[in-house]
């Protein structure tokens, strides 16, 4: 398997139905390398469904997603360049933090899995807890391990669903710095979040979703909360 590279991700008229319910409707956008794109919207707006399609685990019912010039048929080579932090953390609670990361590093085909895992845990500030089972971690600590799991293979495309959940101030600051580093490193970062205060100043572009549709797309967004209230409505803010 050869890992491929791409400079851009694009979605064209992408829709996804679950039975008769349309979760995502005719979404079109592009994001280039070195960009942090925010998906903002209330619960049920379609953010997680859109991320799942970008991650290749859900097939669009209609429309096309392209990674550079390639479609999702690129399979394993494409998956090797995508990192996903889900709402669920994708960690085995019985395994230690290090074992979780070594396991996933191995599945991503990384040669120095143990060294990578230790390096990742140091970045997360969890090197002293590396041999503790994840089951004993707080939500914030698990979130930090999960983020490192998602990024352990230096993905070109990082898809993060509510990455700030459960993090204290110091960890949030660490995560913001990590996302900026990813952007500087040329990754495409797509973040679905409700946390408008944290998203402010971090995002290069924001897409506002409601009922599965894009209701507004803003370049270099400022005053996110005001924009959110205007386009989504006060109830969701």
């Amino acid at each position: 398997m050869t890992a491929l590279d791409f400079d851009e991700i694009s979605a064209e008229d992408v829709s996804r139905n679950f039975g008769r319910r349309r979760a995502v409707s005719r979404i079109t956008f592009r994001a280039r390398r070195g960009t942090i794109l925010g998906l903002l919207g209330p619960n049920g707006a379609g953010k997680s469904t859109l991320l799942a399609m970008l991650a290749t685990v859900l097939r669009p019912s209609a429309g096309v997603i392209r990674y550079g010039t390639l479609g999702t048929s690129a399979g394993p080579a494409l998956r090797a360049r995508i990192g996903v932090l889900g709402h669920d953390l994708f960690l085995y609670p019985e395994l230690t933090a290090r074992e979780n990361l070594v396991f996933f590093a191995g599945l991503y085909g990384l040669a120095d899995a143990d060294a990578r895992a230790r390096g990742a845990l140091a970045k997360a500030g969890l090197d002293t807890r590396s041999e503790d089972a994840v089951a004993g971690f707080s939500r914030g600590m698990r979130q930090r391990v999960a983020l490192e799991r998602a990024l352990i293979h230096d993905p070109r495309l990082a898809l993060l669903d509510e990455p700030f959940t459960g993090l204290d101030d110091a960890s949030t600051e660490l995560l913001v710095r990590r996302l900026r580093d990813l952007r500087e490193g040329g990754a495409i970062v797509i973040v679905a979040t409700h946390d408008l205060d944290l998203a402010e100043g971090l995002l290069d572009r924001a897409i506002f979703l409601r009922d599965g549709r894009i209701v507004q797309s803003v370049e270099s967004p400022g005053a996110l909360r005001a924009t959110y209230r205007r386009v989504i409505g006060r109830a969701g803010a």
Partner: protein
């Protein structure tokens, strides 16, 4: 990459099991209880009717196997780790084979206790031809687990998965049950007939080849929504 991924998944499953011991205890306790209940009701004056031991052995294996299959995928569902496995660049059939191997190892450990227990309680000569018996039990377990692993993975997000798994699994694995029981009965006979055992063993091998091939072929499409 394929073999490495299979090994990593098997090792992970066994490590999790060694730490929690949840599946081993549940499966073994259930299987042994099953055998004991039937022994109390079917063994009269230290003897059971011919072939009863073989039937009880295979029934315990299949019931315990269903329990193990459900629980092992429930673990992958709880933190959505099955989705994480579907996101890695390893070939998807490797994920299937890794999970299958983990289940087979667990069932093999259960069978290592079940077989002597059934032989003892039912006074069945199961261990008279240990290599034949090992071949029959191994191929039967593999066939049952091959179908069960595919169905359990498919049903992992279904709300009524606990009901649906046995409903789908048992009818399809009836050939395994019949071949397993007939071959085990033949092995336990005082006048051992290798031809009969060979016939049922060939059927089990054919079942394994067909269903593992089908599962490898269908695992990726059925796991991508």
């Amino acid at each position: 990459m394929m073999l490495r991924a299979i090994w990593l998944i098997v090792r992970k499953d066994l490590t999790v099991e060694v730490r929690s011991r949840e599946l081993a205890y549940t499966t073994l306790f259930f299987a042994v209880s099953c055998v004991l209940v039937f022994a109390f009701s079917l063994v009269q004056e230290g003897r059971a009717a011919e072939g009863v031991g073989a039937g009880v052995l295979w029934m315990a294996i299949m019931f315990a196997g269903n329990l193990a299959l459900g629980r092992t995928f429930e673990r992958e569902r709880q933190s959505e780790t099955l989705r994480a496995l579907m996101l890695v660049p390893a070939p998807r059939p490797a994920i299937y084979l890794g999970k299958l191997a983990g289940i087979v190892v667990l069932l093999a450990l259960t069978e290592a206790i079940l077989v002597p227990l059934v032989a003892l309680l039912f006074q069945a000569q199961l261990l008279a031809h240990p290599f034949w018996l090992a071949a029959v039990v191994a191929t039967g377990t593999l066939g049952f687990a091959a179908v069960g692993t595919l169905f359990a993975a498919m049903l992992v997000r279904a709300r009524s998965r606990d009901v649906l798994l046995p409903v789908l699994l048992y009818p399809i694995t009836v050939p395994v049950l019949i071949a397993g029981v007939r071959a085990t009965v033949a092995i336990a006979q005082p006048d051992f007939e290798a031809e009969v055992v060979r016939f049922w063993l060939a059927l089990l091998v054919a079942f394994d080849v067909v269903f593992i091939t089908l599962a490898l072929w269908t695992f990726e499409p059925v796991m991508t929504d």
